[in-house]
Structure formats: structure tokens, C-alpha cells
């Protein structure tokens, strides 16, 4: 039985996804053929035995709720616990630069107040990972820690959102939290914080109460100022973690899925990633289909050529079209003899015959939802 509840910040925003995240939060951006980015955080928590999960939502939460429903696909339609929607603070036009804004939790005190769990696992909702929190929770209990920050040893933080890294004593007690936001990166191996932490519920409630007079403040800032007062430990992880901040991240993290090792660590282990089930039929290949080195979801009809690409559910590729190095989101329709190269086509894009869409490796072309070309 788990003694923890979960909170996922699904409201991180960015202007760097060129429209992929203009109508939807990053957490709801489709990823990997049939998933949405949020599925990874949510499934990781569920697979760790957490059965009560609160989701901090952004202002445009419709796509999120559409995807989640009552949480049935993640086994979160429970009598005891389950999925809770925690409406986040509306940040106006300036957007939210915080990862774990305390104000978001203050608005949802009820959720934290009424539960009996000892600990709260908090994660951001814009990362691709498959982590089991059981080890970290055990570590947290063994150390009688107030807070356990999960970190990963890496030599560059290009995969992470905020460049926070930790300095620790021998027993893993955190001595310094460096916040290098905006500073130049060094190519040293550092213990980078991966935006996942465990905190005692009583202490979190205490923090929220004490800081309620201050408008928006990040939980990480509070922790670094109270480093001396709280027992803060660091617990390492070696799971694969990819953060989606900009189009290039999205493209690279997607293309890495064509690597068997990456797929193995993300998908093919004991802990599965759960997602909304669409009951699509199998994918149909016609006799003209030519597919190599690609990931293809269900419900597609493929009559064209596909190379090094990721094809989401329900895509129609007509005869003679050529898809190379591209990511084609659900329900796109590519007509005969059209071509795409280094392109990301958002949902329900229609490319008429003979068109050629071309981006580059460093600057993939993004086509907005429901565009007709």
C-alpha cells in the first residue's frame, strides 16, 4: 500500500513549440504515435502504486480533460482516491515561468488537506519518462527526510527544463541547490534535478500556509532558502528523461524512439505506459506501401512510402506520397504524390496532391492543426 499521493503540474507553458502548444498545454501534446506527454508522468505514478493523483491544469485544459476523462485508462476511476483536477492559477498574458508554483497548490488546499497520506510525490508534466517512484519513496522513508529531490547525473542539462543542480554531502543530504537558469552551461557531470520530488504532506501544508501572503513563488526557491531548516535529501535515478521545451526537443525525443534501446527503456519494460484507448482497427498496408525504420500506430491506411518517421493513429497516406523524417499526428491525410521531409504535421492536417513540405534537421517545419495545404 502506498503512503503517497501525487501531484502533476500539467500547466507548464511555452512559446517555443510553434503552435503545437498554442491550443493545448505541453502535457497534452501527442507523442510517440499514440500517447500524450502527460501519459508518462501519470503512468509512472500509477505504476508506483500511487492511486490518488491531482492534476494542476492550465487555462486551456479542454484537450487534457478530453484525453483523461474519469481517468479510467490509468485505473484512476476509484472510490478511494482517484484522479483530481486542480484548477491552476490563471497567470494572464505573462505566462507562468514557475515549475512548481505554490499559488497553484494554495488554491487547491482541500486536496492536500483531506488526504491521510504521509508523502506527496510532485512531478512536472512536460517530461517523457518511465520511472518507478518506489525506490525513491523507500529512500525517503529510510532517511526520515522532509524532502527528497530526484536527480540524475549528466554532463549536460539539455534534456531538462530548468538547470537546477544539487550539491550533496556523503549521505546524500543536499547542501546547496544551484539555480543556473539562464547561465552558461558547463560540460561537467552534475547532479541535475529532474523536476520530481517527494515531500512530507504536513511540511508542504506548512509551507503553503507560511508563504500564502506572497503571490507567486516556486517551491524550489522556498526549498533552497530553507535548506538549513529542512532535511532535504537527493535520490538518484537512471531512467531516461526527456523534457519537451521547444520544437527541436519534441522532434529529437520523438526520433529517438526509432532506437530500440530507447523504446526498450520507455515502453518494453514491466511498467507500461497507459493511454486513452481508441479501439482503432489494425493498420492496413496496401501492396504499394513501402515502410522502413518507422513507428506506425493503429488505424492507419498506408499506400505510400514512409522512411524514418512516426505515424500516429488514423493517418491516411495515399499512393505515391513520400514521408521522410517526419512526425505525422493523428488523422492527417496525405494525398497522392505529396512529400514531407523533416516536418511535424499537427492533428487532422490535409496535404493535397503534389505538395512538397520541407524542413531541416535543426528547424523542422511545423504545420498547424487542421491546416489544408
Amino acid at each position: 500500500m502506498s503512503n503517497a499521493i501525487g501531484i502533476i503540474y500539467a500547466n507548464s507553458e511555452t512559446d517555443n513549440l510553434q503552435g503545437l502548444a498554442s491550443e493545448r498545454p505541453i502535457a497534452a501534446v501527442p507523442f510517440g504515435g499514440r500517447y500524450r506527454i502527460l501519459d508518462f508522468a501519470l503512468s509512472s505514478m500509477v505504476n508506483s502504486g500511487i492511486r490518488t493523483i491531482g492534476l494542476v491544469t492550465p487555462h486551456h485544459y479542454r484537450p487534457l480533460l478530453d484525453h483523461l476523462g474519469a481517468g479510467k485508462a490509468w485505473f484512476l476511476d476509484r472510490k478511494d482516491g482517484g484522479l483530481f483536477i486542480l484548477p491552476g492559477v490563471f497567470h494572464g498574458l505573462t505566462g507562468n515561468n514557475h515549475t512548481f508554483c505554490i499559488k497553484d497548490l494554495e488554491n487547491n488546499m482541500e486536496y492536500l488537506d483531506k488526504d491521510f497520506a504521509e508523502n506527496v510525490v510532485i512531478s512536472s508534466g512536460n517530461q517523457i519518462y518511465n520511472t518507478n517512484f518506489k525506490n525513491a519513496l523507500e529512500f525517503h522513508n529510510d532517511k526520515h527526510a522532509d524532502v527528497t529531490l530526484i536527480y540524475k547525473n549528466m554532463n549536460n542539462s539539455s534534456n531538462l527544463t530548468d538547470e537546477i543542480f544539487l550539491e550533496m554531502e556523503k549521505d546524500h543530504k543536499v547542501s546547496t541547490i544551484h539555480n543556473k537558469k539562464g547561465q552558461q552551461r558547463k560540460s561537467l557531470v552534475q547532479s541535475y534535478f529532474v523536476n520530481m520530488l517527494i515531500i512530507r504532506r504536513a511540511i508542504l501544508l506548512d509551507i503553503i500556509e507560511k508563504y500564502s501572503s506572497i503571490g507567486c513563488i516556486d517551491l524550489m526557491d522556498i526549498l533552497s532558502t530553507n535548506l538549513k531548516v529542512l532535511k532535504i535529501y537527493g535520490s538518484p535515478t537512471c531512467s531516461l528523461i526527456g523534457t519537451i521545451r521547444k520544437v527541436k526537443d519534441y522532434f529529437d525525443r520523438s526520433m529517438e524512439l526509432l532506437d530500440l534501446e530507447v523504446r526498450g527503456r520507455l515502453w518494453l519494460g514491466v511498467d507500461q505506459i497507459h493511454t486513452k484507448i481508441k479501439d482503432n482497427p489494425p493498420t492496413q498496408y496496401t501492396s504499394q506501401a513501402k515502410v522502413t525504420n518507422s513507428l506506425i500506430a493503429s488505424g492507419c491506411t498506408i499506400a505510400g512510402e514512409v522512411v524514418n518517421s512516426i505515424i500516429f493513429r488514423g493517418v491516411m497516406l495515399e499512393q505515391g506520397c513520400k514521408i521522410t523524417n517526419s512526425i505525422i499526428l493523428p488523422k492527417c491525410h496525405i494525398h497522392a504524390n505529396a512529400q514531407t521531409d523533416y516536418a511535424i504535421l499537427d492533428k487532422s492536417v490535409k496535404v493535397n496532391g503534389e505538395n512538397i513540405l520541407k524542413g531541416t534537421l535543426h528547424n523542422p517545419l511545423v504545420v498547424l492543426k487542421k491546416t489544408v495545404i
Binding site: 497507459h274 515502410v291 522502413t292 506506425i296 500506430a297
Partner: protein
């Protein structure tokens, strides 16, 4: 409890012995079909699409995998507050109890279940047919004709007619004659094994049938002829559409292969009449750089490195390098290792074919079952084996 207008009784207890190795571990309705589906998905999805919320599933033969697949019925939205799917195994009473002895006997033993919902009509379905049908149209026909028993029928080719129960109807679609599998067919209107009964009529018929010790307690052989003889109002509802009995290896293979043909009747891509299934969540399938796939269906979770043509690949299948798969059906979680050739074969669930095997090789003698080879569930074929076409292993 709420009174239901119509209760469906789904006969899923048969062994399906003619499917050989495919039903050695599971009941026929739980056999995989067309990649991601299982045969019972079609009937349960028909119930969902026809708004029939109360379904009793009569089980008997090796029920575990079927039961766990059906679960609460939530995959077909049948987990309703006042009705839903009920698994009905044989049971003991105060004084006696017995196995289900025939289709009619199975329903008879569960008359308390039907009475519990107190329906006007009882729909008898069979769990081993593949078809898409809106039962509400048949119910409407039943009411319009003021019928007591309505039998769904379908036109079958004359040369195959003697495999079915055949009906002769008058100008008003009222059935005048019913013959089960006649040697000399006089009609090509076959019974689909789907019946609508008025519950009062069915109850009387079942009681009379149970008292007749000579009866085989079968709907087609006993109940229907008996009711016709008594002059009951029995009508034929002609179903227009795709319907296949997949009771034999040959018909199972043909029905699967038909789904590869473009624009055929069983349109699994139709968004208005979807077929639901209780699927495992698997990642999208991966097509490697040495793979060639043509005219095939491929499901989630597969990894394909070899050549696949005119085949159906179910979820979680692994196809190694330099493998050739032609005109075959690979059921869930099959593994085919490097260099093997598979031709016109049904490979059972979790079966493993090691390297450099040749399954479905042309033999010297005329092969059985139209040359279709069957590899049983969980079977492992050792490296370098050659299996001749038409064999069951």
C-alpha cells in the same frame, strides 16, 4: 433491478473442436480474429451498437481466458448500473445440477436469470460468428410481424447450402419449413443462429423441450422444428450484410483473409459502427529498415524486420530479419526468428518459430484442409524444422 425490454443470451460454451489447435486452451469465442479482435468482440459490439445492455454469456468449455477477457464488459460499455454482462456457467441447484446439455438446455437452466429482468423478448446469439448487425432492426421486424419467433437469415451460395439450417418462407416471410443440414437443399436461405423469441413463447418451449427425454436440447434441431409443428408464428428476417461462420480452420482462414480485401463488407474502419475489443495497451508497431510489408494488417506492439505479404499480424508479434511471411495469420505474441519462411499458416498465440524453419512447405501428397498449416498455441518449433503444408502441429 429494472425491467428490460430485451435480454440477449450469448451461447459461448461450445468447444469448437473443428478449430483444432486454436481452441485447445480457450473457448472458440476467445480465439483471436483479424489481428486485434477476438471472435466474441463482434457479437458484443453488435449488442453495444444495438443498445442491448443485458447480456448473459453462457460458458462451459475452458472458460478462464474467455471470462478474463470479458471481465465486467467495460470494453464494450456493458458495465451498466442496472444490467450489463453476466457470465453464466453451469451450476448446482438444491437437488441436482448438470453440465449444459445442448444450446436450449443452457438457456433453460438459466431461466431464473431471464425472469429476473422480466423481458418481453429474448435474443439468442452465438459467440462464434463474425458479422456486424443492428439487432434493433430485427426486433422492429419482430414486432411489426407480430411474430412469436423470428430467425435471422442470410443467403448462402447453393453449393455450401447443405452446411446450414435452411428455411423455406411464404410471401409474407413466414417460415413454412425448416431443415437442418439437408443433403439436397431446396432453399439457400440459411439460419444465422440468431433468434428473437417472445419470452413467454420461449419459456413454454424450453419447459416442453426439457420434459422430452428424446430431445437433443438444441435450438436448431429441436426447439424451432417443434414450434413450427405447433403452428407458432415464426418469421424469417433477412439480414443484408457480411456474415461468416468461422467454425472450421478453412472458414476461419478465409474470413480472416477477406478482411484484407479492400471495400469488403466487414468494414472494420467504419466509424459509425465500431468494433470494440479489450486490448492491451502496447506501443505503436516498429517497422525496421530491412522490413517489407505489403497488403497486410499489422497491430500495435509488433516489431517487423522481415518481409510480410498478404498476412495478418496480431498485437505483440516479433518478425526477425530475413523472414518471409506469406498468406499467413500470426496470432498475438508470436515470435518468428531470423531466416524462417512461413507460408499459408495460422500460427497460434505465443507460439515461437526458431531460426531457419520452413512452415507450410509444399508436400508430395495432396494436403489436408486446403493446404492451411496450423501451429498450436504456445508451441515451439525447433531450429531448422520443415513442416509440410496442411499439417497441424
Amino acid at each position: 433491478m429494472r425491467k428490460q425490454e430485451c435480454v440477449a443470451m450469448l451461447l459461448a460454451g461450445g468447444q469448437g473442436s473443428r478449430l483444432g489447435g486454436l481452441t485447445r486452451k480457450r473457448a472458440k469465442p476467445a480465439v483471436s480474429f483479424c489481428g486485434k479482435y477476438r471472435i466474441i468482440d463482434f457479437t458484443l459490439s453488435n449488442c453495444l451498437n444495438s443498445h442491448i445492455n443485458t447480456v448473459g454469456v453462457l460458458i462451459q468449455y475452458k472458460p478462464f481466458l474467455l471470462n478474463s477477457y470479458i471481465g465486467l464488459g467495460s470494453a464494450w460499455d456493458l458495465d451498466n448500473p442496472y444490467s450489463g454482462v453476466h457470465i453464466l456457467p453451469p451450476f448446482l441447484g438444491e437437488k441436482e445440477g448438470s453440465w449444459y446439455n445442448g444450446t436450449a438446455n443452457a438457456v433453460y437452466q438459466n431461466y431464473e436469470f431471464i425472469d429476473f429482468y422480466d423481458p418481453e423478448y429474448v435474443l439468442i446469439l452465438s459467440g462464434d460468428h463474425v458479422y456486424k448487425m443492428d439487432y434493433t432492426l430485427m426486433l422492429k421486424f419482430h414486432k411489426e410481424k407480430n411474430s412469436e419467433i423470428t430467425i435471422a437469415t442470410v443467403q448462402v451460395p447453393w453449393e455450401e447450402a447443405s452446411r446450414f439450417g435452411l428455411l423455406t418462407v411464404d410471401g409474407d416471410a413466414r417460415i413454412t419449413e425448416f431443415t437442418e443440414k439437408p443433403a439436397q437443399p431446396e432453399s439457400n436461405l440459411a439460419s444465422m443462429g440468431v433468434y428473437v423469441f417472445n419470452w413467454s413463447t420461449l419459456k413454454q418451449a424450453l419447459i416442453a423441450d426439457a420434459e422430452d427425454y428424446k430431445s437433443q436440447n438444441d435450438f436448431g434441431k429441436n426447439i424451432i422444428p417443434q414450434q413450427l409443428k405447433q403452428g407458432k408464428r415464426v418469421y424469417a428476417y433477412e439480414f443484408q450484410g457480411y456474415w461468416r461462420d468461422v467454425g472450421t480452420i478453412e472458414s476461419y482462414y478465409q474470413a480472416n483473409m477477406e478482411s484484407l480485401r479492400k471495400g469488403h463488407f466487414l468494414n472494420i474502419f467504419d466509424p459509425k459502427f465500431r468494433i470494440f475489443s479489450n486490448e492491451d495497451i502496447l506501443p505503436p508497431h516498429f517497422v525496421g529498415s530491412t522490413a517489407e510489408i505489403e497488403n497486410s494488417l499489422v497491430c500495435n506492439g509488433c516489431i517487423i524486420h522481415g518481409k510480410v505479404s498478404n498476412s495478418i499480424i496480431a498485437p505483440g508479434v516479433y518478425v526477425g530479419k530475413e523472414v518471409q511471411i506469406r498468406d499467413s495469420i500470426l496470432l498475438p505474441c508470436v515470435k518468428v526468428h531470423d531466416g524462417s519462411i512461413i507460408h499459408k499458416t495460422i500460427v497460434g498465440e505465443n507460439a515461437e518459430i526458431m531460426r531457419h524453419c520452413f512452415v507450410g512447405a509444399d508436400g508430395h501428397i495432396a494436403s489436408d484442409q486446403e493446404g492451411i498449416t496450423v501451429v498450436e498455441d504456445n508451441h515451439i518449433i525447433t531450429e531448422g524444422s520443415v513442416i509440410e503444408a496442411g499439417k497441424n502441429v
